[in-house]
Amino acid sequence: MSSLSLAVRDSSTMLRRNLLHARRYPSLTLNLLFTPVMLLLLFVYIFGDVMSAGIGGGGADRSEYIAYIVPGILMMTIGGTVVGTAVSVCNDMTEGIIARFRTMAIHRGSVIIGHVIGSVLQAVMSVVLVGAIAVAIGFRSTDATVLEWLAAFGLLVFFAMALTWVAVGMGLISPNAEAAGNNAMPMILLPLLSSTFVPVDAMPGWFQPIAEYQPFTPAIETLRGLLLGSEIGHNGWIAVAWCLALAVLGYFWSASKFNRDPK
């Protein structure tokens, strides 16, 4: 068997294993959906009237505010899912079964690749679920073309993949599941410090550069532009650059951590 077909075959076996885990124990995945959904409902129904007053020069109504926060909530959903990835990678590494995999004549990276693809699939499913809730409470995309929908979908998948590689590295360096959860915390905290809930230019001046150029804001602004027709500007390129950088960095980091001698 060629090394490529070995890689594909073993990785898909590992993917099946990870999806089986997710199907057998959906609570971890579902728990992680709780945060974005709760924040969506909180900001729309509890804080919505006050928050919407600050959007679009004032006087925006609740439906406009829903439209404003949904792109950020979707990105936050991805951030939440990959926290689960860090935890499950870490759990996996502490299990004896990984030692078994390492002593088998299988493609070495297949364990990790299985986790990454599984995680991206879960992120997409989570985004669809949260997106459905957003639509149910009144979110509508305005004048997005088929191409823009495709681009939005591609951005979500690319972003999920980039964060997943970083999360895998976090899972690999964590000694236990709690530590993995803590190490991956920035994945849920960063969206709070982005343009998810309020525009960057409404933030204190010293904080604006941080909020504007951290990975989440350009991705959120790009998604907003694609779905709602707002100005994307340089955010598109910054988002793509962040995704590429995080994916490549996360990949090499994870690979070096996985290939070292186990403790």
Partner: protein, 330 residues
């Protein structure tokens, strides 16, 4: 003469200043059981991890071949030849026993049909059919160990590493495991096992190496090792001082304990040696009140081979396999 299944020359491993394996030479012929015997911390697990490609040996090690392949140059070929059951169960607890087996079949690139056949066969052989649909995390220690070995066998490995296969098992599961290991070898498989129990090595292994402090303290068959160990003896106790004196002069090799009126005769405890002692007593017309056979245990081995007394109360032998101290009353 075939190539040995495992041949290691000067196996070394250290972490910083801590030397775990200090030049270990091992040769395991094909189709035999080899036991690496030693207390906790001797380096047994590290040796297994290196030979099974999980850890890399120190560069100062000599050549290491497993299944005829160079361990460092051709690790993937080594992996194709071996199966490993580690000390801590290497099963996926989140999925069922059957799913664990099918996962192994997939990773060995068996066809769907072949995978199902092999999985069903092994589940049957290891008495796991009833539990097959339950998550492996719900299994008892013995069941997990059986599933673990069943998973190892899916790829039909020619060399199997078992790291402390019976530690933590109850006596019945332990005997089941011994039976399983014996069956493996009858199929021509080579088994490399580690154990803390001399009894276990004695039961199973063709050759035994005693590992202490990262070095091989002794190597040989069970019989050869026992001869090295002065711990084995027969003890005769008398209540009649006259009989004691007679016996002491009849059995020249005996060491005397005049206070307790008992004699200690070095012996491996075999039937032949026992009979010769009894014959000598019979022909002298002496009857001992009590005869006890003491076979050497791991404490004796370590005392003899390393010259260090095992710490009292912290025996390297946990309560599990009490060495037979059979009393024969006459």
């Amino acid at each position: 003469m075939t190539n040995p299944a495992i041949a290691a020359d000067g196996l070394r491993k250290s972490y910083g200043d801590k030397v775990v394996l200090d030049g270990v030479d091992l040769t395991v012929p094909e189709g035999t059981i080899f036991a690496l015997l030693g207390p906790n911390g001797a380096g047994k697990t590290t040796a297994v991890k290196i030979l099974s490609t999980l850890l890399s040996p120190d560069p100062a090690s000599g050549e290491i071949h497993v299944g005829g392949h160079d361990l460092t140059a051709d690790a993937q070929a080594v992996r194709a030849a071996i199966g490993v059951t580690g000390q801590f169960s290497a099963v996926d607890g989140l999925i069922t026993g059957e799913e664990n087996m099918l996962l192994m079949a997939d990773l060995h690139h068996l066809s769907k049909r072949e995978g199902r056949r092999v999985a069903a066969e092994l589940l049957e052989r290891f008495d796991l059919v009833e539990a097959a649909k339950k998550p492996a995390s719900t299994y008892s220690g013995g069941m997990k160990r059986r599933l673990d070995i069943a998973m190892t066998l899916v790829g039909n490995p020619r060399i199997i590493f078992l790291d402390e296969p019976t530690t933590g098992l109850d006596p019945r599961s332990r005997h089941n495991m011994w039976q399983i290991i014996r069956e493996l070898v009858s199929d021509g498989v080579t088994v490399f096992l580690t154990t803390q129990y001399l009894e276990e090595a004695d039961e199973l292994a063709d050759r035994i190496a005693v590992l202490n402090d990262g070095k091989i303290a002794a190597q040989g068959t069970a019989e050869e090792l026992k001869r090295l160990i002065p711990g084995g003896h027969v003890r005769l106790r008398f209540s009649d001082p006259a009989a004691y004196q007679d016996a002491a002069s009849a059995l020249r090799e005996a060491s005397r304990d005049d206070e307790a009126l008992s004699l200690q005769i070095p012996s491996d405890g075999s039937q032949r040696e026992l009979r010769s002692i009894l014959d000598q007593l019979d022909s002298a017309g002496i009857e001992a009140d009590e005869l006890t056979v003491h076979t050497p245990d791991l404490d004796d081995v370590f005392f003899a081979l390393t010259g260090t007394d095992p710490q009292p109360g912290q025996s390297s032998l946990p309560s599990q396999p009490s060495q037979p101290k059979e009393a024969v009353r006459r």
